[in-house]
């Protein structure tokens, strides 16, 4: 039991070691202002990575999140420009994300297409759809109420941080304390056995992609609000950051094991790395090497516990 606890806390220990090392080099790192800054910057990746955790727990992968983010952001900006009420707009865009995710899920389950290929198709189609929809130009979205979603503060803490905590909390509850959550783990552990014991695996897997779609759309809303503008090229490469956060957090790409808490730690490690490399003004060429090396070390350390 104790050994198990230590294994689970390993990503957290990695995060702490990294933070201490960085604060040694950059005294500005451990200031309240910068910590809130890192949390705000991490929120978008953490929200996407939460959906990605559900998908990866079933043994799948979702490459379409960056494109869903861009498409959702563009639709959000267009709805606001058409004077739709803020909450109606947010609701519609989240629903749109769910529908897109569910359709991708159906292609995977009913169409029997590998998740990698099916979500790659969604990624490509939606990126194209976003470019057509926006005509390749940014759409301005600077309404005050909308701006507060990404730029506002509550009790001195940025609003996106509250959204991130809410999403993580809800996901934690669903995975740990609901039947659906246990089914997600079961499918990742052994899909065949789950199906034979009567689980509606197709419906559960489709739902998981819908969850990922909703959260990618939510991330799109936050990003659009932060920039006061929807960018046609937003979110390119975000799927890789989300997958990296999930894996850094100790979730197995084979499915069946992993936690939301781990994903939060993984997202924080990536966010802190990006922040620290900027704070220390490391040249971009070396940044990529440093980032790759640290992620490699983290993953190798984590793999040791399986040995």
């Amino acid at each position: 039991m104790n050994k198990n606890l230590f294994a689970r806390l390993r990503p957290l220990i990695g995060l702490l070691v990294l933070s201490i090392a960085i604060s040694w080099f950059s005294p500005r790192f451990l200031t309240t202002g910068n910590i809130l800054n890192v949390l705000r910057q991490t929120s978008i990746n953490a929200v996407i990575a939460t959906g990605m955790t559900f998908v990866i727990l079933t043994g799948g992968i979702d490459l379409s999140v960056g494109s869903i983010l861009a498409y959702a952001g563009a639709v959000m900006a267009a709805l606001l420009a058409a004077h739709l009420a803020l909450w109606a707009g947010v609701g519609l865009v989240l629903l749109l994300g769910a529908v897109i995710g569910a359709v991708t899920g159906l292609i995977i389950t009913k169409g029997k297409v590998q998740p990698f290929i099916a979500t790659f198709v969604s990624m490509t189609l939606l990126r194209g759809a976003t470019l057509v929809f926006t005509d390749g130009r940014p759409i301005t979205a600077d309404q005050d109420a909308f701006a507060s979603l990404g730029q506002g503060y509550g009790f001195g803490v940025p609003v996106p941080v509250f959204i991130m905590i809410g999403v993580l909390g809800l996901a934690y509850y669903v995975l740990r304390h609901t039947r659906f959550g246990r089914y997600v783990y079961a499918i990742g552990g052994n899909e065949q056995a789950s199906r034979l014991s009567g689980l509606r695996t197709d419906a559960i897997k489709t739902t998981v992609y819908a969850v990922s779609g909703v959260l990618a759309a939510l991330a799109g809303i936050i990003l659009t609000s932060r920039l006061s503008s929807a960018q046609p090229t937003a979110g390119i490469g975000y799927e890789l950051d989300a997958i990296a956060a999930v894996v850094l957090g100790g979730t197995s790409l084979a499915g069946g094991s992993g936690t939301i808490f781990g994903t939060l730690i993984g997202a924080l490690i990536i966010g802190i790395l990006n922040n620290a490399l900027n704070l220390m003004d490391v040249s971009s060429y070396y940044q990529m090497i440093a980032k790759g090396a640290i992620i490699l070390i983290a993953v190798l350390l984590d793999r040791k516990r399986d040995a």
Binding site: R28, R137, P138, N278, M280, S284
Partner: protein, 291 residues
């Protein structure tokens, strides 16, 4: 035989006499006319062609390489004296240029270069000069001293390299110090988060130069989240950036001059037809847009 002798004789005469006899046909092949930048470029070329006494044939490739090829074939069959091409794609345009090369029709490229075929001259914006302009303006506003940050474009691209070089050359002689130089990939979201991080690390920052307007607008968002006053200078003069300069949230942006690219193209063709040597690259100056 007699006719070709007459032709040779005409060619041997002073070019002025040749122009007096017939207006030389010159082709202008544009990647698209569905974009204000290229419409302005065409207008600049048309105006200059009128003064130069050229019969300018303008064809629109509609961003389609196949259409570009058939347009080039049409120009070659009309026996134009020279072709100016603004390629739809630097690779795909090679076949069209080689077609003109086979007929010994001189080709120059505008705005976008070609990766194959023989091109006499390439005419495009001078990114180094644009970066210098931005640097000189920042130096003027800061009275040649203070800390600045530079948001770089995608590492390894020529635009990032040239704009950065120009900027750093311009401030090199001043007491302005670049305290942070970070890549933000020409992207607005990345420009914002990188700038947020730089703001955390640099308590005393007076100005930011971004290699394009998207990153500059991201930096504006990051700065707006604080109560600090930092000058932001971008590059490209996009609609959003011009609006930001007008509103005072950006200090300046560097604009390309498409009309000048067009008219310099015609001037270069004039020199080629007059038998004068022309440079392989004609840099076109840029314009600083301030409030």
């Amino acid at each position: 035989m007699k006719r070709s002798l007459a032709c040779l004789l005409a060619l041997a005469l002073v070019p002025g006499a040749m122009f007096a006899q017939a207006r030389p046909k010159v082709g202008l092949l544009l990647s698209t006319l569905n974009n204000p930048f290229f419409v302005t470029l065409k207008d600049g070329a048309t105006k200059e062609a009128k003064t130069a006494g050229f019969d300018l044939i303008v064809l629109d490739s509609q961003n389609d390489s196949a259409k570009e090829m058939s347009n080039a074939e049409d120009l070659v069959s009309q026996k134009v004296a020279a072709i100016m091409i603004n390629p739809t794609d630097s690779d795909a345009v090679g076949a069209a240029i080689k077609l003109a090369n086979r007929e010994n029709i001189p080709v120059i490229t505008l705005d976008r270069g070609a990766n194959s075929g023989k091109v006499v001259s390439h005419i495009a914006s001078d990114n180094v000069a644009g970066g210098k302009m931005a640097g000189a303006y920042v130096a003027k506003l800061l009275k040649s001293q203070g800390n600045v940050a530079e948001l770089e474009g995608i590492a390894g691209t020529s635009a990032a390299r040239d704009r950065g070089k120009g900027f750093n050359d311009a401030i090199g002689a001043t007491r302005i110090k670049v305290v942070a130089r970070q890549v933000a990939d020409f992207d607005r979201a990345k420009g914002m988060s990188v700038m947020e991080n730089i703001l955390q690390a640099q308590p005393d920052l007076k100005a930011v130069f971004a290699h394009n307007d998207e990153m500059a607008l991201g930096a504006v968002k990051a700065i707006q989240g604080t109560s600090r006053k930092i000058l932001v200078v971008g590059f490209d003069a996009t609609d959003d950036a011009i609006a930001a300069v007008k509103a005072g949230t950006m200090a300046a942006t560097v604009a390309q001059q498409p009309a000048l690219i067009g008219s310099l193209g015609v001037d270069t063709v004039k020199s080629i037809l007059a038998g004068k040597a022309v440079p392989a690259f004609v840099p076109v100056s840029l314009k600083l847009i301030t409030q």
